[in-house]
Homo-oligomer: 246 residues x 2
Amino acid sequence: MKIGIIGLGLIGGSLFKDLKKLHDVIGISQSQNGENIFKSYEVLKDRELIFVCTPMNKTLKVLDELEEILPPDTVVADVCSLKEFVSQKQRPYKFIPSHPMAGTENKGFESSFCGLFKGAKWVITGEKNEKLISIIESLGATPVFTTAKKHDEAVAMISHMPMVIAQALVLAAKENPLAIEIASSGFRDTTRLALSNEEMACDMVKMNHKNIEQSILKLYKAVGDLTKGDYPKTIVEIKSIRSKMF
Amino acid sequence: MKIGIIGLGLIGGSLFKDLKKLHDVIGISQSQNGENIFKSYEVLKDRELIFVCTPMNKTLKVLDELEEILPPDTVVADVCSLKEFVSQKQRPYKFIPSHPMAGTENKGFESSFCGLFKGAKWVITGEKNEKLISIIESLGATPVFTTAKKHDEAVAMISHMPMVIAQALVLAAKENPLAIEIASSGFRDTTRLALSNEEMACDMVKMNHKNIEQSILKLYKAVGDLTKGDYPKTIVEIKSIRSKMF
């Protein structure tokens, strides 16, 4: 398949490394000094499927610019962590909002790798397009179909709010020098999401703050409920829920 | 050295596997049906150093029973996650409250392994005893000296409260089926502490609830403070603090 990828960071770079083995892939990125590797998106005109993998705050601009260039049957999927804001506008090409549930705390092409999407869920909040689905499945990922609204609520709960909590855990602990000195693997894992890159974290909090606030309130309620009933039984239930997740 | 270990779970078992390579070690445990492998602690009479690695709620009883048996120059160290409750009473042997900052979410001798303590901090809230320090250092761990009170506050912040938050995160997420379906590595790591074994979790929450409550309030304050100032700058500061920790 003729595939284009705009933005070669962790997600776009990993897609590039996986897909170039079997497909004709053009990757477009900016070098670190901001210079375009390709001068424009003209080279993407003949692509059947394009992944837009730029930071969230740049994605709408890229999607707008593609309107000038792409034929109407080109399939374009973004990979943003939020899906409502990209779904507001009709596009003259086949736009399919999507979000692969994969990543690490590292950023950039140098951190990208083959196999990042293996075993991951890949949320799609647009039409069931065969080209996109076949590529997603070839990466070892599983498409999950839902609405943009439900997606944005769910990621607040399992990704954006936990990131905020991880950041706050470090912030709270820093007042206690002994805590900082003796923290071990439990605290390390619990706070790994605090390493999320600043640009992404700010985009998430700015653009999904209502859902994040709701999730924080639900967390606080759960903290209060936790030891109200039969705590050992609740822990067993929690462990059972979590073991079904991973 | 003649060493004794009472309780061969994750911590005691790992100590046993490491120390028996170079020392004369007697391990005392209960089999799964509750039958004592050794009928009494009599066999520990000639030990120079004894580690008490039983669950927290059984440790005071074991320390009491050892009073009948041990000569006054025997060094006894417990490994409980809390240090104030074991420090209340004078013992007729050389009792040194200690806490290795190492563990996994698994329990039992079958989960124990050589090298668990390598690179770990090992908190001591009693006297600087050469025998104990040399053994701790031989395991690759670093002794950290502090008071029982400061220790219990610090572990609430970096271990017990994060465990409660991890449990509450799963409890809050379970109301959202999509969240449960699409959760990925970020949520998995953030909630790993929710897998802590029930007996240990209940002991921690029951015996350290005041410090845990204080830590929860500090976390809530940090959540509120997080985005008040310059959020990107705060994230950079948080990442810098965390990278010095691990």
